[in-house]
């Protein structure tokens, strides 16, 4: 590498750092309330533990904290722990998909049980699972149902995920998240994100990574309004560009989560998500 190129790269790196918020700062994405219905018509399970707003994302925040990055997802309902998970929340599970590198180096398919895909320009390199289950439990499930993502380091589970107030947060080491970007820097503020809100299912289907199913009709512990097969997105809420919490983002979410099934329940068109970035 010539001296000129090294200087050029250093300058780009410094420029990237100068453009980034100072260490300890965070970036925040907003999401409108009342859109916790997936592609527009999903309904909550009927059990009383699923209180209104439990799956309604209101904000998502990324905060570098030393050697870690903290991800915080907030919902439109006070978090409760009716199932005794011991971490301040119980019914929710959020997955943070992150594009940390080039689009052609990432995954298009979502994790098992979500029934989503990402567009070719919106692939993900890392997925952080914010679950109230113990890390060991999530990892053991991932070994069966997301083995390749786990093995190549794409799937990450925080050592501890906590719920407080209305927000769920978990931290992951920067070294596990970082991939070298085109600019030669790994900058959480330059990454692109998508957050998928699901429910903590302690007794998942054999092919689901601790996710709760969406069926055509809701049940005591099943979402309704979808399809009884796996052609519909099992997702209640996501971020929609530009993630400022405007009403227009509701329709943008519905558009992303739209899907089509054939008569046998096979997907004709999968829900296709986009990433957001500040």
């Amino acid at each position: 590498m010539t001296i000129r190129i090294r200087h050029l790269l250093a300058g780009c790196a410094l420029g990237a750092m100068a453009a980034s918020p100072a260490l300890g700062a965070s970036i925040e994405f907003k999401d409108p309330t009342g859109d916790d219905n997936g592609p527009g018509n999903y309904v909550y399970p009927t059990d009383a533990v699923y209180s209104p707003g439990s799956f309604d994302i209101t904000s998502f925040e990324v905060t570098p904290k030393g050697k870690n990055v903290e991800f915080k997802v907030c919902v439109n309902s006070k978090l409760d722990d009716p199932w005794g998970m011991g971490v301040g929340f119980a019914v929710q599970m959020a997955v943070v998909f992150i594009q940390t590198g080039a689009a052609d180096s990432g995954h298009e398919d979502g994790l098992a049980g979500l029934n989503i895909t990402f567009g070719p320009e919106d692939t993900w390199n890392r997925a952080v699972v914010l679950s109230p289950q113990q890390q060991s439990r999530v990892m053991s499930e991932a070994k069966m149902k997301a083995a390749s993502a786990l093995n190549d380091g794409s799937l990450l589970v925080p050592r501890k995920t906590l719920g407080k107030g209305k927000c769920i947060s978990g931290r992951v080491p920067v070294k596990d998240l970082a991939t070298v970007s085109a600019e030669g820097m790994s900058d959480p503020f330059a990454w692109r994100y998508q957050v998928v809100m699901q429910s903590n299912e302690g007794f998942p289907d054999k092919a689901d990574l601790l996710t709760r199913k969406v069926n055509e009709f809701e049940g005591q512990h099943r979402f309704g309004g979808g399809n009884d097969m796996n052609c519909d997105p099992h997702v209640m809420d996501i971020l929609a560009p530009p993630a400022e919490g405007t009403e227009a983002e509701i329709q943008a979410q519905y558009d992303m989560l739209s899907y089509e099934c054939d008569m046998d329940g096979n997907p004709v068109k999968m829900a296709t998500l986009k990433m957001v970035r500040k």
Partner: protein, 715 residues
Amino acid sequence: MNKKNLALAAAVSAALCAPATTASAGEMEWFGAVYAKFLDGDRRFESALYNNAETTPGEAGGDQGQGIEFELMFRNQVSKQVEISGRLKARFNKNFWTNFGGFGPEENDERSAQYVKMRGVRAVITPGYEWIDSATIGSNDFGMFDAMTQGKYRYIDRDNASGLLFQGSMLGNDLRWDLARVSLPRLFAGPRFVTRGEDDALKLETNDAAYVGQLRWNATPDINTTAIAVYVRDKEVAPDELLNDGNNEDIRDGTDVVTRYDNSVLGLKADYTGLGWLDISASYYHSWYNVDDSTCDGDVNGNCRFSPLLNESANDKSWFVNLDVSDFLVTDLTFNIQGFFIGADYMSVQSARREQDVLLTQGWMNTHQWGRPDYNFGNRENGNATAGLGYGGWDGETQQVVSLMADNDFTDFDEPVAYDVHGYKGITVVPKYTWNDIEFSAEYTYLDYDTNWQACGGQIDNATGQGYRTSCGKYPRNEGIHAWGLGGDWRAPYSMYQDRETQQFGFNMDYVWDIGNGIDLGLRYQFIKDDDDRVKSEAGLVDAYGDGYASGVTNPDWIPNFSQQWGDCTGCDNRKAEYALYGLSVGYQLHPDLYATILYDYWDTDLVDGTIDTAPVGLGFEGSNDFGYAEYLTGDHSKNRIGVVLNYFLSGVEFGAAADWFWGNYDPEFYVNDNGRRAKLRPTGDFVVTPLGNISTDDVDLNQYRLKAFMKVSF
């Protein structure tokens, strides 16, 4: 017939004729679990594969043995509109491996012989009509309602509750309704824990039911309201239908019924989340309870002493207000505040018995909740004391319920405790704050009681015999040790005389020390100050203690002498308790599949429970040391615990283990009436005579070891 309208047709295209699950229509899905448990301990009781079974007649707990159970679940999407499911489960209670597959004297006992029981069978109908979403016929835990009205049944009962449930929605799912008919459990859902009278000829149980209706309206994403109503009726054959009673009625023209009891409850709830930083919720409940006058004999130790419902008709209310504040003035500082009132006479026979929690406070210390304890004599032949889990109590959290049948039977020491909170009124404040990666939380709770009264709110007139014997017949005593000793009164919220106030303080700190895989450090502190002045008048003293506890005292050495033991000393029976807990925990991911936690707890309790002549007012058989459990516990109590908890996960299987080692000391103290005031006694002999036995003046050392390990394979 109108098909259910699917909104946003541009976004969704319905699949036609698709089964409800990934299986093909009509194909049975099979799944289930294998669960094995290993118990060990130094109490050496082996009545069951559960640590605690104190209150179920004919049952008892244990700390020994191994057992395994098999649970097979099935589900079939019969058609697009019909689904069935169910469970086949082996009985586990006494299914010890040493039974060798069921052989032995207890082979015919279904709790021992690995019999498989059908449980949880139901059909779910989704007809696709606009006016109804689904109908569920059969087993149900009824968790879609409310802990104060129709609660979710506890796990053991969850498959034993059955009924009809209809659910629908309107206004684009913003308005949802639920209607249910729940078949009334005949083993506990009525006075004296039955839903029948004493006359077999008049018995009618199988059509007794609770009827529940609920409307939930999500007015906006920020405003939600709920109305819920429950009506329960326990019917019996009308007595005059018997031919031989002189009325000459017969059944050829049908049979009339009478109401043994009925219970109506109305609940209204609302919450608002529109402010962002502040969420507000409130709920109000009112109950009406009517019971036939002939059901109970009115004696505090009579036929309705043990009962999940009041012995007389009554109406009352309860309410809760919650404020949840986020980022109050400072980022990461939250407050949860709850004000509450639970009426002493509030009755809902279908309210939650456990596994739901109506209060924000963490509640009493569960290590002291041994329900039928034996601290004084260590009598291995005391069946009541052997049925429970012993000195260590429970490790799990408190689940506060509003039910006189709060249920902790068939639980193990690592599980939560259900505790009845009838009469509680007060406020709880819980701040939480994160600072430099340290999670802080605290609690302050002030408790007053709607059950503060003298002679249960009745008259006290010794000349006419008015007092607790005439006024307190309304309230079932159950264990009869409310606000006595260290605890354990989790389904006995009523005392004859009470003037009680409680304050709780709590502080917790959690931090992940970033070394290796991260060390989870936890500190906890809890302090409870609990004072009860009990009897407040001289007339009350005569009423409460004047008869020397009637037939409740079995210690021949204790001779009642009211003038000497009580006189006018209204402060002599006062209860003063201070509980303190200091705890430390360290957790570490030893291996990607194995997480371990080590805990150390220290409890320090100072208790003064009246004088040496004080025992629970209305004392009955529980004063005996042969089969009773009212203990003399005044003095200093210190208790230590080392606990180890392991969690190990492999794909498809979970292993867990919890072990505790307790050691502690009880240093008894003694107080007497000294010319109208309570004074500390310095005994010179080896023991002190009390109504509850001759209590040694020496310190008592208590120890307990216990272990529970389990394996769960899900397939």
